[in-house]
């Protein structure tokens, strides 16, 4: 490799990275280390006396059924999987439709893309309002036309369904943007060649387009799982508050609730550490994959 030209000024680069590094250390590393440290202690919420308890906070998470951590794990996985599956399959289907040479294609694309700007929290409010048992338009329709009593604050299945729908609704446009970009880069001559060889539309999609989309699909799979696990806090907080009971209390909601509301700092910190390990695993998987892709 040719030696790249680089500036040789001594102090300047340090000055340039300084703001970034200060913020990284003050707001990322320092709190993360404190969280790790905190997770080995029990602190009484009023006096702040620390009591070293070793790994107790962790073992409690996994052995004490009343803590509900395993249950929260199970709910999070079901929720993230449901959102990922729903949001990705709908977005892929719509992207293939919008990618056809049809009239109004650019209008359709704009209409599909802009909901990316809707805040996750607002998505929660929109769905909450439609399904509010007292004033919701859809709740009313379900009750008076279909005979289904909608009570997501009492019915665990309905609560889960509602947060899943709201979270997926919000994520479709994100997936749509990526699938559309992926579809546009599939070479047309490949598809035409297959058509000449007698492959029908379905076969062309599954045998040619879908495999060529696999980098996009994989990237979105990771991003959607991350979204489902970590970024859906606003929907849970706004729509169900983790309830009824703890039936929609996903991991990030539980960290917040145990820390901020129940003031169980040790337990909340131990949960934070576990979540950090999960994000790390997902990030490593993603980058491993992207590195591999570069050598195509």
């Amino acid at each position: 490799m040719v030696q790249q030209y680089e500036f040789k000024t001594k102090g300047l680069p340090y000055l340039l990275v300084l703001p970034q590094m200060v913020i990284v250390f003050v707001f990322f590393f320092w709190p993360s280390l404190q969280g790790l440290w905190q997770s080995f202690f029990l602190q009484d919420p009023f006096g702040g006396r620390l009591l070293f308890v070793g790994l107790d906070n962790y073992t409690r998470l996994f052995t004490d059924p009343s803590y509900g951590y395993g249950e929260s794990f199970r709910i999070s996985i079901a929720f993230a999987a449901a959102v990922t599956l729903l949001a990705m399959s709908i977005a892929l289907f719509l992207a293939t439709q919008a990618n056809k040479k049809i009239r109004f294609a650019s209008f359709y694309k704009t209409m599909m893309i802009w909901p990316y700007a809707v805040a996750t929290m607002v998505a929660g409010v929109l769905w909450l309002f439609m399904f509010n048992p007292n004033v919701g338009v859809i709740a009313w329709f379900l009750k008076h036309r279909l005979g289904i009593e909608w009570q997501h604050l009492l019915n665990t299945g309905q609560a889960f369904l509602l947060v899943t729908l709201a979270a997926s609704w919000k994520q479709i446009s994100y997936n749509f943007v990526f699938f559309l970009a992926g579809l546009q880069s599939v070479p047309n001559d490949l598809i035409e060649a297959a058509a000449i060889d007698g492959a029908g539309p379905a076969r062309r999609f599954w045998k040619i387009v879908f495999p060529l989309l696999s980098p996009t699909t994989f990237y979105l799979l990771v991003m959607n799982l991350v979204y489902g696990f970590f970024e859906t806090f606003p929907i849970i907080h706004q729509v169900t508050a983790g309830g009824p009971g703890k039936s929609t209390s996903i991991l990030v909601y539980k960290v917040w609730r145990d820390g901020v509301i129940n003031l169980d700092l040790g337990g909340s910190s131990a949960q934070s550490v576990i979540l950090m390990v999960m994000v790390m695993a997902l990030t490593v998987v993603q980058f491993r994959f992207i590195e591999r892709r570069v050598h195509y």
């Binding site: 700007a117 809707v118 970590f230």
Partner: protein, 281 residues
């Protein structure tokens, strides 16, 4: 593509129109609710046609807000705007400088800096809620704009995007500017920055939306009404008994909260898509 029949040509339109209807329906309902009176909404089902109280509801939402909230949409939108601009501009500035140092300079801690920034990808706020809250509280930044903005400014994605772009800039340009007697900072200002306009615009769209839509962080650190962002305000208006909620005001505020980021996406759609899909690489 190859097969032609009227049905085949109509179907994509049917699916897309249906999908857009599903996407727009909740927003339509919000729009309708924001033009009606409280009793219209409470006497379910609410009529699905626009009412006549739009001006009244919006002016109340913007100037006064809900009765139990003590903050108006105007003041909350101002806070959201300050936060979104602070985060997006701050991120871009800090990331540009860091990416410039990492790509164009050789210094001892370069690898270390790069990896420290990379690791922040793995530490979203959601997973370090309590300790970050404590640090910000120790620094006396609760209920302040600095507290809302600073912890959100680090962005590994922005550093990566700019780094990627800088690495494609021919080094001869840097070398030539040195020979002509320009210092590294002059090169940065006069030559590199103007070349980077497009990625900067793309980053701005994405980060403005990210900043405007922040929820968990302001929820943690704002307890005074004067620092509520619009999303926190909506949450506070909704946290009461059902009968006390003034839905028409809440819905007007919700619609207002959606407008700025949506406008930015629609206006800057091209840069936005480029910026989003570039991150994948």
């Amino acid at each position: 593509m190859t097969e032609y029949s009227p049905l085949r040509r109509a179907l994509p339109h049917v699916f897309l129109v249906l999908a857009i209807a599903v996407i727009l329906f909740p927003i339509y309902i919000v729009l309708i609710a924001s033009t009606r009176t409280s009793s219209d909404i409470l006497s379910a089902p609410m009529p699905l046609t626009p009412g006549t109280h739009m001006a009244e509801n919006y002016s109340r939402a913007v100037l006064e807000g809900n009765q139990n909230l003590g903050s108006s949409a105007l003041s909350m939108m101002k806070n959201s705007l300050i936060m979104a601009l602070g985060i997006s501009v701050g991120k871009i500035v800090v990331s540009l400088l860091a990416a410039y140092a990492i790509v164009f300079f050789r210094f001892k801690l370069r690898g270390f800096c790069f990896w420290s920034i990379f690791v922040t990808l793995m530490l979203p706020v959601e997973v370090r809620i309590m300790p970050t809250y404590k640090v910000v509280s120790d620094l006396g930044l609760l209920n302040s704009y600095a507290g809302l903005i600073l912890p959100m400014i680090v962005s590994a994605t922005a550093v990566f995007l700019f780094r990627q772009f800088f690495m494609q800039v021919p080094r001869e340009i840097a070398e030539a500017s040195q020979i002509d007697g320009a210092g590294p900072m002059q090169f940065f200002w006069r030559i590199l920055l103007p070349m980077t306009r497009t990625p900067i615009a793309a980053m701005f769209v994405i980060q403005f939306i990210y900043g405007w839509n922040q929820y968990l962080w302001p929820l943690l650190i704002t307890t005074k009404q004067e620092y509520y962002t619009i999303l926190i305000g909506i949450n506070r208006m909704l946290s009461g008994a059902d009968v006390q909620i003034e839905w028409q005001i809440v819905m007007a505020t919700t619609l207002l909260a959606m407008i700025p980021p949506a406008l930015i996406v629609v206006i800057m759609q091209k840069q936005f898509i480029a910026g989003m899909t570039d991150r994948e690489k």
